[in-house]
């Protein structure tokens, strides 16, 4: 039975080793903050961190995630108060909210690698993640705010 390290906890799962990590997180472990949008790595709604790297959970088989540190939106910060989450509230970024976990996880990896990104860095870094409501202007502003306020 594969053991995963999710948000700092060791968790067992009986899912088939080929199962995309997305379904393991959502349906087996109940971590539904990670969303299903496309299943083919085209929308970013399922973005998580694998050893700190922004990764499409839909593109990682369970067996490939074993032994790596998995972080989901539920584990990004202890109290939901990561600087990006605070900035997301300050900028009133979400509309329907469905893509926002993935956006925040992508942005968190971006800031971890590049704490003071330019607007161009943000545009490039956030390109994999779709938002159909059109919250992009506020996503960019929230990332800039988080970078500034830390």
């Amino acid at each position: 039975m594969p053991t995963l390290t999710v948000n700092g906890n060791a968790v067992d799962t009986n899912a088939d080793p080929q199962t995309p990590l997305l379904w393991v997180l959502r349906e087996h472990l109940g971590l539904t903050g990670t969303k299903f949008g496309c299943g083919v790595g085209s929308c970013g709604a399922c973005t998580i961190h694998l050893d700190g790297e922004a990764t499409f959970a839909c593109q990682v088989p369970l067996e490939a995630a074993v032994g790596h540190k998995i972080t989901t939106i539920e584990g990004l910060s202890p109290n939901g108060d990561h600087p990006l989450q605070r900035a997301w509230i300050a900028e009133q970024t979400p509309q329907c909210g469905y893509c926002q976990s993935g956006q925040i996880m992508r942005a968190a990896a971006l800031l971890a690698a590049n704490p003071k990104p330019s607007r161009e860095d943000i545009i490039d870094g956030m390109a994999p993640n779709l938002c159909r409501c059109g919250t992009y202007p506020r996503i960019a502003r929230a990332i800039e705010r988080a970078a500034q306020e830390g």
Partner: protein
Amino acid sequence: MTYHKPNLSRRAFLATSGALSVAVLGGGLVSVFRDAAEAQDLGRSEINAWVSIARNGRVAIRYTSGEMGQGVSTSLPLVLAEELDADWSMVDALQVDQGPPATFGNPLINNILYTAGSLSIAGYFDRMRRAGATARRVLVHSAAASWRVPVGEVTTEPGFVVHGRSRRRMSFGEVVALPQLVTDVPAITDADLKPREQWRLIGSDVGRLDVPEKARGAITYSIDVRLPGMVYAAQLLAPVEGETPTVTTDTDARAVPGVVDIIPLRNAVAVVAETWEAALAARELLKVEWSNTSPFRSTDSAAELKELAAAAADPAREAFPWETRGDARAALRSSARVISADYSTEYVYHAQMEPLAAVAAVDADGKGAEVWLGTQSQTVSIGIAAAVLQTTPDRIRFHAMQMGGGFGRRTFFARDLLRDALLISKQLKRPVKLMWTREDDVKNGWFRPATAHRLEAALDSNGDVTAWRHRVVSASILAFAMPDNWAKANNRDFLVMEGAESADYAIPNLIAEHVIADRRTRVAAWRGIGWGPNMFARECFIDELAAAANADPVAFRRRLLRNNERGLRVLDAVVAISKFGTAPQGRAHGLSFAGYKETRAAGVAEVSVDGEGRVRVHRFWAAVDPGVAVHPNNLLAQVEGGIIFGLSGLLQERITIAGGEVQQSNFYDYEPLRIGDIPQIEVQIVESGAAPTGAGEIGVPMTGAAVANAIFALTGRRQRQMPFGQVRS
């Protein structure tokens, strides 16, 4: 293994808590309920159908419209809280899952629980104000009775009832803890409502109540629901609308570990398994032969575009009038100078980020169910569920879930998806989560129909428009989506035609008419409804007329708006903030006057075109007059989002159909705009103080012509066929 129950505590179970009765709103007396078991647990008093107050002072305000991102879960309670004089920090918003339409229905949508057309604020504004004022009156009268002072001496401050003369005050929580509440209060009249200058919540920028949870990924959408004993269902759906499975070979599929059953349905074969991944794996192994008699097999979207254009050009084709002013036909016939142009749009897909899903748990007797659904109409969905189970609506325990985007897609989808989830759950006697993959969602989309437009106008020697004809050719959305309404609609399809009446423009002779084309695929409203295509065609044509009259686009529109103060104000505002006509070298500006229903709006796009003909929108300005901006920061967000949605459609979205099959599959071949594609956007709110109107759709209709007109200004090439992200010569 863990499981997660959806967050039910925040929801109002109005139909199941039978002790609640219905308050009389807008007249008569208000009942006060103190007997619901749930209410007693919380020390909570139901003041009326919309408000309950707990002894700790928390105020729960119900809202009916479904939250799909447009912000109603904040803006509707905000309106009620204003008149209640609630302390906003003490307010909780509760989604109404179901309840009597007479109380909760939207008066602008046949008095049912239905969320569409940017009609929530417009439909509920007055009702929420009166509900809040009535609840406040109950508190004031109760406190006055307790203090034994005249009611007229008692007033409120946020969260408190106050008697100034004796300097006594009680929190709302203390009032509801009184031994007796005065329920017999006079009805609220218009004069009892707060005058606008006393508003402190309406028009303020409180934070959206749903945003903190959305920043933590903590909101439960229907696709997230997990129940004990639940099975998962995937569907192999018919490749063409109207086909049905005839032979199903499922031996290999059934051999997949975890598969529970394979169930043929009307338009699909369902694969049910203990896990979602098993259901998907088994679906791959399923071999299904489909009937091949559907008339939709012949659908070819490219051929259809030609048919629509031909119908637009054929005066002999029957057209149903949508709007008639004066005698446009005679005026066009007798005019010395008639200009005409043709426009078209193609099928577009909603691409809401949450693929469709339905969760259902049918009762053991098969005559009732609990349902979790992200739907734009509780009433319609409950009705469908009751019909499927051949039961009565009171047997459906319904949860109206937060939607991962709607945009028109979630109005009637339950017709198929909810039906199938119920049938599967009933047959297997287990709760079921039926999910569509993105490919299922694209290939079984209900698209905004392709349209063709012929515009004709007569110009007199002063350059004034004396006659106008706007002929729209399109399948009827209403006929497909709402057949009962269509039967009574006298061939008037507002979902296609609205906007074509061009009511803001002073044109003495006008006809707008609808040639109803055969429906070739599933169709639905799309953000902006008919205003999107109709304003694209109209506002491009206005620029063509202005050019023919040697007038500039601003002056030409100002003359047409000479009787329309609200229209002039947004036009002038957007011209001012954009410094229209002063685009930097290599770019150009385009203008569009295009609101949505009663909301007036105008937009300016700043555009460049690269050496390969690719269009880039660098900046976009909009001015909007929603009457009253109830929640301004959210209004800005909605307009920004609508502009991006509109730009995405006009630049690069297109569904094509061949042999009845949708040719796109997923976001790699139907790709909405990404963050790097969007312009810098600036929105100005121009409040007229008229009755408040909606926000969700305003941004879309202005985009098409603003960009097309900018491309013309830059390149001299008219863009009459949407999409046009690649410039057409």
